[in-house]
């Protein structure tokens, strides 16, 4: 049975649309026979999951990184190399710092932030910093665009809240509030070319009296999705960023995660690394806050 409006796919194809509109048209035309591809660094590692029709969106103009009056807008096809380079300084430098740690130089030259989020791995290196900076994703389909908090986008390992006729168009990051300090850490076995066994980001607003007035903590690779550790955040808000509070927050974070044991690390080690990550991260934030 076939719909008269659908194309018959007789053999594999690789299409390169020139615009978002053309992309949406091809998606409508080919439906489940097609998949979207950007940098290929996740998809070509699992070629058995490729559909017959590959729609390569790297040429539709989504490789921008721009700051305007509302904040940062990163096109879904911006590469990790571009983010590491262009966001090395400035209010969003924590994104550049995280971007520089994904994969390897060769992978970063092709891998895109949109692809990283759409691959939806719990260990996605692009996710934690975007979670703690309250980023939103812009999803676009034939009916138009909608915005979603990034933390609602990844719903499970490899699963995302993207409709079949939508693509992830861009990521929007608001300017961090005054006196925001942020850290990112990727815990790996080798200096490059490894998936995180734990990764995480913390962004905190520390006032002039060293009181934490706002904090977001996100840990990755320790749950089915990157995870905001709200219990630890709630503990810290309103308290001084002192050693004893940091220690308690780190303990709370370690107890809040239930990681698995796999080739990269045991569950116990991951819990321990969560504790250390949060402890060191908050200490570093305190150090940065005391310097201004």
């Amino acid at each position: 049975m076939y719909k008269e409006s659908m194309a018959f796919v007789r053999q594999e194809e690789y299409l390169k649309p020139g615009s978002l509109q053309e992309t949406l048209g091809l998606m409508a035309q080919y439906g489940d026979d097609a998949c979207i591809l950007a940098g290929a660094t996740d998809l070509y590692v699992k070629k058995h999951t490729l559909k017959k029709v590959v729609i390569d969106i790297s040429g539709i103009g989504l490789n921008y990184i721009k700051v305007d009056t509302d904040g940062l807008r990163i096109g879904a096809c911006a590469t990790f190399t571009a983010m590491a380079t262009e966001l090395a300084d400035g209010p969003f430098r924590i994104i550049g710092e995280a971007a520089a740690k994904l994969g390897s130089p060769q992978i970063r030259n092709m891998a895109t932030i949109g692809g990283n989020l759409c691959n939806a791995a719990p260990s996605a290196d692009g996710a934690p910093v975007l979670y703690v900076l309250k980023a939103k994703v812009k999803l676009t389909g034939p009916q138009g665009s909608r915005l979603m908090p990034v933390e609602d986008f990844i719903t499970g390992p490899g699963k995302k809240a993207l409709a079949k006729d939508e693509i992830l168009e861009e990521i929007q990051v608001p300017f961090p509030a005054d006196r925001t300090f942020a850290v990112f850490e990727k815990v790996v076995r080798t200096r490059g070319l490894d998936l995180a066994l734990v990764n995480g980001a913390i962004a905190a607003v520390i006032d002039a009296n060293n009181i934490c007035t706002d904090v977001k903590i996100c840990l990755g690779a320790v749950a089915p999705t990157p995870l905001r550790i709200k219990v630890a955040e709630e503990f810290l808000i309103g308290k001084e960023l002192a050693e004893d509070h940091i220690a308690v927050a780190a303990e709370i974070a370690a107890n809040a995660v239930s990681p698995i044991s796999d080739v990269r690390a045991s569950a116990d080690y991951r819990k321990l690394r969560c504790l250390v990550l949060v402890s060191r991260g908050l200490t570093e934030i305190g150090r940065q806050a005391s310097q201004i």
Binding site: E13, V45, N109, G192
Partner: protein, 159 residues
């Protein structure tokens, strides 16, 4: 099959390829440029590193369709006019090659990197080049020494 046209080491090729083929397979099996090695076929070892428009990439996961109209440099294009590149000479000098499987990828990557960063430090070379390559034989020290010698002699030439 789909047609692609692209340059490799300055030579233009026009080929019919399977639309989902990868650059590494096409280089090795269609163009007989077997200097590029396939170690893991998942972008995790760096052995297949070539330059795509001057940019190091792991060719085993680069769709050949992305290469249409572009320029590729492989290990076969590093030595010119029958003369080894200084990186190749220093690798031999320092014993940075044992089984040789990782070598092509590292040489190609280093060549591009040192052209962009002629004053690279040991830290730069380790963090920005060697983190993208796995070598099971050497322990990398000889490669670092070789590359530092290349940097040093390039600095001398510049003066």
């Amino acid at each position: 099959m789909t047609q692609v046209t692209f340059k490799v080491n300055g030579d233009e090729y026009c080929l019919w390829v399977h639309p989902h083929a990868t650059l590494a397979i096409v280089l090795r099996e269609e163009l007989n440029l077997t200097g590029t090695k396939i170690g893991c076929e998942e972008g995790e070892c760096g052995a297949c590193t070539v330059l795509l428009n001057g940019m190091p990439v792991t060719s085993c996961i680069v769709p050949i369709m992305k290469v249409d109209g572009q320029e590729v440099c492989t290990i076969e294009g590093v030595a010119t006019g029958g003369k080894l590149h200084p990186i190749q000479e220093q690798f031999i000098e320092h014993g940075a090659i044992q089984c040789g499987f990782c070598t092509a990828g590292i040489v190609v990557h280093s060549k591009a990197y040192l052209e962009q960063h002629p004053n690279a430090t040991e830290q730069d070379v380790r963090n920005d080049v060697l983190t993208g390559h796995i070598c099971r034989c050497t322990g990398y020290q000889q490669m670092v020494d070789a590359l530092m010698d290349v940097v040093g002699s390039q600095e001398k030439e510049a003066k």
